[in-house]
Each structure stands twice: as structure tokens, then as C-alpha cells.
Subunit: 465 residues, 2 copies
């Protein structure tokens, strides 16, 4: 299946055939993570962990199950999630007095506890995160990593003494996003969601969107300013230095396995996956290329090179299966391993390795005495190229539009006065979603494509996954 | 609360007051893991991961929810777990056609998939593990880490071509157990469970028990030989080289957050926790001890030492809070940090640090030029001492008994013919549990304490947590 012929089919094939996911589990939208996929997700998780940890956010774990009465304290929130919740109603032979829900997100699990953790200004800021399974009863069509019912989720929650401090946290979140996206070689846009599309209970929501090859936008992360919308109903107050009692200001930051979905969708090609070096379970593949009569010597020397590359700290795999080298190349190319080292007679005799890049197929000679720098540089260059290529293709999918009809595949930028009525009208007439207004882009003056009013407001409209 | 006065109360206090757990979550047996506790558990998990990974076991993730019909294929298994299962019966506004249960363990989630993964002998052995949340509706009194309803669990599952290969896997599991227990400084006994106490569906079960200070045994891990008891009902067959079709032989290996409970219970003292260096979130604490007029210089120099120790790869914390050094010492002693470095005027002027061990309180002078080896050696010695101390106290709780009545606090070893009738009689008359027969100990001839028959069978009897 060629990616350009049918992206959707290509995606489904490439994730299933290369051990990223197994969809044969008998519950719709709940898939098995085989080793290769799970390892990739763990590596993505460890990048997020590193970014949070070095800024002093602390990893915690809150229970999966949330009592119904605790869930219902913030009215907008419950309205937003009610239809999507899985309910535990029975345990052993007992009907439960209070049904328990599987977390779709953990605000309502955490906030009653925050209200006992936080007493005074000295307890602030509180900055925690967790990496957990969450659950949403999706009724739309499911798709591996992109729309599932058990979601691998990373959620950051913070509490601050003031709105300004919460805003500064959101700026830090954007910096974290920048670093993570760079490691995943993903371009993205930060878009302030419309009022009718923000997170249930939030003051405002920043969606982090990336553009898929079929011209649909995919939200890979979101950042929310709650102000005191949760802290008041959940009674999270702190005592100021002057003795006054105030509700904390809160933010959250959510990221999910969709980041892996985006990596697959954006970098892959007709051959299969291309996984960025930072999160590839195998960064370097070593393949011996034996010739008659010297098979043993060559395999032995190749194994020494494998050992050397491993011990330099690269995630390395040695493929000595009894099949032809060409089959090995193809097998690992499909799996997206960024760099392959071929080691044959000439390489051994002359003291070099032939490195083959997954992205460009370019062959590069690396001297055996230069493995660390040689491999490191190429992996680094592969990452840069993946990002550049992805950015170029995203930028080819950005358009200015002067009316909502006939939007193109990609981001469609149009003038919008900001009123809900006009916004809904844009969605209706375009058939796309109004993602919101881009953050950090200054709008040029124009006329709202619906009402014609002069405005510097901008709407980004796209079809979504 | 002194540990020796009331172990049970001491345990509850020490886990709650030192940020290992927070029991204020409103569901019984489902506790919050604050940062310090969660980090300790993550470190235990990373030791297990290392042991599995280096032997080629692959980490995966299977869905949490299991359809009722899939769960019920192995009759003994369902009987064993039925009363302990949480059921999801509703999603959004819909009653589910087939109720879904929260995994109490993942045999029934995994095995239908194994039956499609495994086709031929070339797919064997299959060796995977996962680190996940599991759920059991405990009706007994709950206790942090030891008896909870949401359990952090590590489960290894293997499939083999023959019974002998499965047996050899179990020997490898015991080797893994040895390495993990050594890192946690925990003595343990491997005990083959009785027929009526083995894992539901297993051919046999090895329990891995450790002895708590109050004389009760705690199972911290278990290893199961399933033979073909699951592979036949779940249709996990493989084709042999000769073309014949055979059911695979299976084993599992389970470990849980009880390992953390044992660490707390066994190593702690009247002051608080003592966490073994390998899993302590903070291995080395650095405290400046300022004197008047030189506070700034001393704190600055201490911070340099903190930086140096950190960069050597030790998990290090610098405590520069504006409270007296003595309060810091006490705070971190209670939290179980194995080693503290005190840095005052004399230390800086003479170029050394004063290291204070948490376990023995011994003070050791380490030259500033010798930090790596100096600290490394002490941490190593702390681990050895913790293990030795724990072994000594466990061995003081082993007794030979010639009748079931009046068993003592600890392991009570008695002759047993092996018959269920006599075994149940032992439990009734002793008031303890018959843990089973010790693995790898050769019994000496004796007479069954119930029926008087000559036997070299041994029963270990103890009260359990």
C-alpha cells in the first residue's frame, strides 16, 4: 500500500504489520501493545519525564477509579465527559452503593486530595504529573493511537498562588512542548480553542495540533488554564502571607499516545515506518554480509562491531538470522530503524562500516575508529532532516482563504470576528472544524468571512482526524 | 510510635508520614502514591525491568479490561477470582452486552492473543512481561502496599515447547528473584504452595515469602507452572518440526508493590524508614552546616559538593531550607535516606565531608578527592548490612516444632506426610497457615505431626499478613 495512494489504509497497515499495535483484542478501541510499539511509547514517555523532572515537576500516581459523587462537583466538566465514561457498578457479588468511573482524565481524582495537600502559600506551586492509562467510551470510528478507548496518557497538573503564575506555567508548558516535538521531529501549531470547543471546565484551552499527510489536523497535546474554576468547587484554598484565604489557580497539560500516531503518520513512507532516532527502540542495526568461505569470520567481526556500537550507548541490534542480508534490510527498513551498518569483507579488510540511512537511503562510509562521532552525527542529521521534511510538507498545507466554502486539505486561515455565531457558521459552510485562533501569530486586518465586520481575528479551519 | 511496641501501628504511621502513600482517597484500598513513594516504586520497577530485559524478556502492554466470556474459559481460574473482580457494566448511557472486568491478573487477556501469535516452534519461547495496575476486590482489612484494591503489579508470562523448558524458565525466575531481593536487601524463602492454596489453574505454585518483624509471613512474589492447563482451553498450540501440533507449556511470574511494603516493614526503625540505596529516591543528602559570618561561603561550597556528587551519578539532594541542620537531619532520616553528608567550616577548610550512615548512625570522614569511591563503598556497605541484619532477624524467627499447637511468631517447620487432610488439620490446630513445603531444602526423616506416619516431608507454618 502506497502512502500517497490511500493514507488511511497505509496507516492501518503500517502500524499492524510492524509490531506497533495488535488490533485483534476483542474489545473495540482497546489494542495490544506488542514489544516494539510499547518500547517506542516508553521512550516517548522518558523524554516527557526528563522534561518535567528537570523543571521540578514530580511524578505521582492517583487511583484509576473515581467515585461518582466526587466526579460531579464541577458542572461543565461532568457535562463534557458524561457520555464517554465507563462505569464500574459491581464488585464480586455486590452492587456498589456509589458507582465508580474509570478516569477519562484525573482532575476529579486529584483535586479533593490537593485540597488537603495545600494549606499555605509555602505549599505552592504544586506541580505534578502522571503517566497512566485512561478511558473514554469513543463512539466514533477507532484508529490505533489516534482514537482509542484505553488511552496511554501523560497528564500534568499545577496549582499556583496567582493567575500570573499560572500563565507563566503555561509558557513553560509551551517550552516543554517545543523540546518534545523537536525530539519527535514533529512540526505543530498552538491554537487557542474556541469557547465551545475548550476543555470542559477550563477558562481557555490551547490545542497543540499537527498536520497529517492527508490534510487532517491531529491534536497531540493540550494545555489548559483553569483559573479557579475547579479550585472553588473542590475547595483548594491556600493561606496567603497576610492570612487571607484564596483559591489556587490551576493549569493542566495533557499528552497522549497520539504523539506516536503522529510520528508514524508523518515520517513513514511507502516502505514503512521511519522512527526518529530519539525514540526508536533500535537506533542502529548491524548486519553481517558474509561471503563464501568467510561467513564465520565476517559474522564474528560484525558482532565485535555490534558490541562496540552498543557499548557506546546506542540502542543497537545485531541481526544474525539465517536469511539473506537483503531480507534483513527490508525487514528493519519497514520497522523504521534509522540507521543500518552493513559489514562485509571489504569493510572488515579496510576497517570501515557502510552506514545506510533509512530516510534518504544514502550510504556513508564510517571509519572504524570514528564510530561514536560518525554514528552520532548521522543520527543527528537524520533527525534534522525528518523535522525539515515534515515542516516543508506542513507548510505546503497552509492556505489563506477568503470564504469558508471550498476549504483545502490542510490549515485554512481566514478572518473571523470571534463571535460564536459566525464561528459555527464557518464550520457549517466549510464542513471543517474551526480549530481556533493561532497563538503567537499577529493577525492582519481583514473582514470576517461571515459577517464582514473589520477584524484582525483569525480562524484556522481544517478537517480533523 | 516504636516499631517494637506495635509493629502494625508503626507501619501505618511510617508509610503515611513520610510521603510513601496517602490514604485519604475516598475508596477503601485505593491509595494515592505521592512523589516519594511512587519514585521508590519506579526504582523497584526499573530493577525488575533490567533483570527481565537482560535475559531477553520483552515488555508489552495488554488492555486493562477483559470480556466476561473470555475470562471464563479456564474453570479453576474463574472460580479462584470470581469473588474478587470489579465489573464494568455500563459505558456512557449504554448497558454493555458483555460485562468487562478489570484485570486481577492478565492470563485471560493475553492468552487468546498468544494463540494467534504462536504458530510454530520458531515462535517459542515467548517471554513477555508488563508493569501495570491490577484490581482485586479485597474484603479483608486493607493495608498500604500489602493488601490493596488497586495493585501495582509486574507480571511475566512465558510459553515453551516442552515441560522441561518451562521448568528451566522457573529456575531462571528464581535467579531473577535472587538478584531483585539482593537489591532490596530482603531475605526470602521459596515455598511450594499446597494443592489447595496454589494459583487457580496452575499445576504448582512457588510462593516467595519474606518474614515481617511481627512474625507474619508476607508473600512478595509468586512463580507458577501452568503446564498446559491454560494453553489447551485457550487454544495456544504450535507446530513441531515434525509437523505435529502441541499445546505450549506456560509459566508466570508475579511481583507486586508488596516488595515495597516488605522494604518498609523489614528495614525501618523507630526513627522511620530506611530505604536500601538501590531504590532510594535520594541516596545522598547534602546539608550545609553554616556558622555565623560564613553562612554564605559554607552554603556555596556545600552546593559545589552537591553538584560534584550529583554528577558522579548518585541520586543526590541538597537541602538549603532555612531551618536548622538538626531538623533537616531528622526530616531525611525519617524518610530513610541512606547517607547524609554534613558540610561545615571544618570540612571545607580541611577538604573533607562528614558522612553519616542512616542505618548505623556511624560518622565517616571522606576526603573531598575520594567522593566517588568513598560514597560508593559506604552505600554498598549499607546494603550489605541491611541484608545481613534482615537475615539475622529472619533466622531468629525460624523454629522446629513437633506439634501444630503453640506455633511461634515466625516460620514453624514440622513434619507433614503431605496429605491434604493432615495439612488442613495442621492449619486448624495451629491457627496459622500452612505455607507449603520449602524448595531446595532436604527434609530430615520424621513423623507427620498429625497422623504419625514416617515422612521426610516438611511443612512451613506461619501466620500471614
Amino acid at each position: 500500500m502506497r502512502k500517497s495512494d490511500d493514507f488511511s489504509e497505509w496507516y492501518n497497515e503500517v502500524v499492524e504489520q510492524n509490531e506497533l499495535t495488535d488490533k485483534r483484542y476483542p474489545i473495540k478501541g482497546m489494542n495490544v501493545w506488542p514489544y516494539y510499539g510499547w518500547k517506542t511509547w516508553l521512550l516517548i514517555g522518558s523524554i516527557v519525564r526528563r522534561e518535567f523532572d528537570l523543571r521540578g515537576h514530580q511524578e505521582v500516581y492517583f487511583p484509576l477509579l473515581i467515585p461518582e459523587d466526587q466526579f460531579q462537583k464541577e458542572k461543565e466538566h461532568i457535562k463534557g465527559f458524561d457520555a464517554q465514561v465507563f462505569w464500574v457498578t459491581r464488585a464480586g457479588d455486590n452492587e456498589l452503593d456509589i458507582p465508580l468511573l474509570l478516569r477519562p482524565t484525573s482532575e476529579t481524582a486529584m483535586y479533593p486530595i490537593f485540597s488537603v495537600w495545600i494549606r499555605s502559600h509555602a505549599d505552592l506551586p504544586l506541580r505534578i504529573y502522571q503517566i497512566v492509562n485512561t478511558f473514554r467510551y469513543e463512539t466514533k470510528q477507532t484508529r490505533a493511537f489516534i482514537r482509542v478507548r484505553e488511552i496511554q496518557f501523560i497528564e500534568g497538573h499545577t496549582c499556583h498562588a496567582s493567575y500570573e503564575e499560572a500563565e507563566s506555567q503555561i509558557r513553560e508548558d509551551l517550552e516543554i512542548m517545543k523540546n518534545i516535538a523537536e525530539e519527535l521531529c514533529l512540526p505543530y501549531k498552538v491554537i487557542r480553542r474556541t469557547e465551545w470547543d475548550k476543555f470542559p471546565g477550563a477558562l481557555y484551552t490551547y490545542g497543540v495540533d499537527t498536520m497529517l499527510p492527508d490534510g487532517r489536523a491531529l491534536q497531540i497535546a493540550s494545555i489548559h488554564q483553569y483559573r479557579t474554576n475547579f479550585s472553588i468547587p473542590y475547595n483548594i484554598y491556600f493561606e496567603e502571607e497576610d492570612g487571607s484565604r484564596k483559591p489556587v489557580h490551576q493549569t493542566t497539560y495533557g499528552m497522549s499516545e497520539r504523539m506516536l500516531g503522529a510520528v508514524v503518520a508523518i515520517h513513514g513512507d511507502d516502505t514503512g515506518l521511519i522512527i526518529p532516532p530519539s525514540v526508536s527502540p533500535v537506533q542502529v542495526l548491524v548486519v553481517p554480509v558474509p561471503v563464501k568461505g568467510e561467513a564465520e569470520r565476517i559474522t564474528g567481526e560484525a558482532r565485535k562491531i555490534y558490541d562496540a556500537v552498543s557499548s557506546l550507548g546506542f540502542r543497537t541490534r545485531f541481526d544474525d538470522r539465517d536469511i539473506r542480508p537483503g531480507n534483513k534490510y527490508y525487514y528493519w527498513e519497514r520497522r523504521g530503524v534509522p540507521l543500518r551498518l552493513e559489514i562485509g569483507k571489504r569493510e572488515i579488510d579496510e576497517g570501515f562500516v557502510t552506514a545506510v540511512r533509512r530516510d534518504s537511503r544514502a550510504k556513508i562510509r564510517i571509519d572504524i575508529t570514528d564510530l561514536q562521532k560518525g554514528i552520532g552525527d548521522i543520527l543527528h542529521d537524520i533527525a534534522s532532516s525528518l523535522l525539515r521534511r515534515a515542516e516543508e510538507s506542513a507548510s505546503r498545507m497552509e492556505f489563506d482563504a477568503d470564504r469558508p466554502e471550498g476549504i483545502r486539505e490542510g490549515y485554512n486561515r481566514m478572518s473571523w470576528c470571534g463571535r460564536e455565531e459566525c464561528g459555527k457558521n464557518i464550520e457549517e459552510r466549510s464542513g471543517g472544524s474551526l480549530l481556533g485562533t493561532p497563538v503567537g501569530e499577529s493577525g492582519k486586518k481583514g473582514k470576517c468571512v461571515i459577517c464582514g465586520e473589520e477584524t484582525d481575528g483569525i480562524a484556522i479551519v481544517a478537517r480533523t482526524m
